[in-house]
């Protein structure tokens, strides 16, 4: 029989105990460990953002396809693709549009998918809960594991790995929700240097070909797996662009600048948002610098970048292949693609 209790206040039994209601811990005005909003530390946990393209086959070196998701092929070969849920399905709640299909097509062990969180101080000494939906399609991964790797940066303290989960045959061909809670080790006494991070790794220990599908990945503070946090798509892509940005303009992108000398072109390249570090830049094929009827279409070379407010102050080495460049003349660069990478 349903019943109702009406009270003015419920107080915790001791100053440390909090109040638990049907598994949800309330403490100091918030759901314990979660606060309100921005509870999911995973970026692109809903697999909506794929700036590098929505599929790739045969990856044998480490890198990224879906934004923020780092692939370690180990000695295998990984195919990645964005897959779409059927509208109206109810296996994974709240109508997500996409999931990630990860296929290792060359047998190897320790093949995995990571997300690295900037700053190893994240979660240190705290309890966190990892939740996600997963299944396999064709080749079952037979010994899955999840671990946390606290990396203290270049010449920092040795990496600390903490096992979250290690089990045989957890996935089936149907979507299931998985949740795991773990206490992250303290970083007391550690030496922390540049490029430090904490990474969550989803891997398979068995030397085999395998595949899995994964959706709605969430890492949150506390010991309770709450509902997946949906963020506006504009906010999610902005979070991704702190680490990677890509522009493809079909040769219509013109960047204005000036020739400092007949061999030195300077310009400002705008960025969507400030990036984690000065990014690595990859230029599309055959950029052209034009000034006062002269141009260089054969050997425009990027020589320097400094990240400033709103973008990059950049320098290019040029040499006129037609006409003659002048000192201190306005100039423009036409380029088709620009790729900026400040991943961890």
């Amino acid at each position: 029989m349903a019943s109702e209790v009406k009270v003015n206040t419920i107080n915790e039994y001791t100053t440390a105990s909090g109040v638990t209601i049907d598994g949800v811990e309330l403490k100091d005005g918030s759901v314990k460990g979660n606060g309100t909003g921005r509870k999911n530390y995973i970026i692109n946990g809903n697999f909506d953002i794929w700036q590098r393209g929505t599929s790739e086959t045969g990856r044998t070196s480490s890198g990224y396809v879906a934004d923020r998701w780092f692939i370690n092929p180990s000695g295998g070969s990984v195919d990645s693709s964005r897959q779409e849920f059927t509208a109206g399905q109810t296996d994974v709640p709240n109508e997500p549009q996409y999931f990630y299909r990860f296929e290792n097509t060359v047998a190897d062990d320790n093949v995995g998918l990571w997300q690295k969180f900037e700053d190893v101080r994240t979660f240190a000494g705290q309890t966190i809960t990892i939740s996600f939906y997963a299944k396999y399609t064709t080749n079952k991964p037979t010994n899955l594991f999840i671990d946390l790797n606290q990396n203290f940066g270049s010449s920092g303290s040795s990496e600390v790995s903490t096992s979250v989960f290690d089990d045989t045959n957890p996935y089936t061909t149907s979507w299931q929700k998985f949740t795991y809670t773990v206490t992250v080790p303290s970083i007391s006494g550690k030496t922390i240097n540049a490029n430090n991070y904490i990474g969550v790794r989803f891997g398979n220990r068995t030397n085999e070909t395998f595949d899995f599908d994964i959706a709605q990945v969430q890492v949150e503070k506390g010991s309770v797996a709450t509902d997946f946090e949906y963020r506006p798509i504009g906010e999610e892509i902005s979070l991704c662009q702190r680490y990677y940005q890509y522009s493809d303009t079909g040769s219509r992108y013109v960047i204005n600048g000036a020739l400092q000398s007949t061999t030195d072109f300077r310009c400002f390249i705008p960025l969507h948002t400030e990036m984690r570090a000065t990014p690595t830049v990859t230029l599309g094929a055959s950029p052209v610098v034009v000034s006062n009827g002269a141009y260089d279409n054969n050997g425009v070379t990027l020589t320097g970048n400094t990240q400033i407010a709103g973008g990059l102050a950049s320098a290019f080495s040029v040499a006129a292949t037609s006409g003659t460049f002048g000192n201190f003349q306005p100039a423009s660069m036409r380029i088709n693609t620009l790729e900026f990478d400040a991943e961890i």
């Binding site: 490029n195 570090a277 000065t278 070379t301």
Partner: protein, 61 residues
């Protein structure tokens, strides 16, 4: 995997003196990256590791 690394210089805007300002990194698949001298950049760290393994950074031709 890194195949080769070449230094990139930029003239100082006042004096014209060349300063080392980055590396052109060519990967095994032929892709070329411009890597800044930023210790927080993961490719810069990979260049340092590549050098520690006994490889040499070239001067531009």
């Amino acid at each position: 995997m890194i195949s080769s690394v070449v230094k990139r210089y930029t003239p100082d805007i006042d004096t014209g003196e060349l300063e080392l300002t980055g590396y052109a990194v060519t990967l095994d698949d032929g892709k070329e990256l411009f890597v800044p001298l930023d210790e927080s950049n993961r490719h810069y760290q990979e260049v340092l590791q590549w050098v520690a393994e006994g490889n040499e950074i070239s001067e531009p031709s």
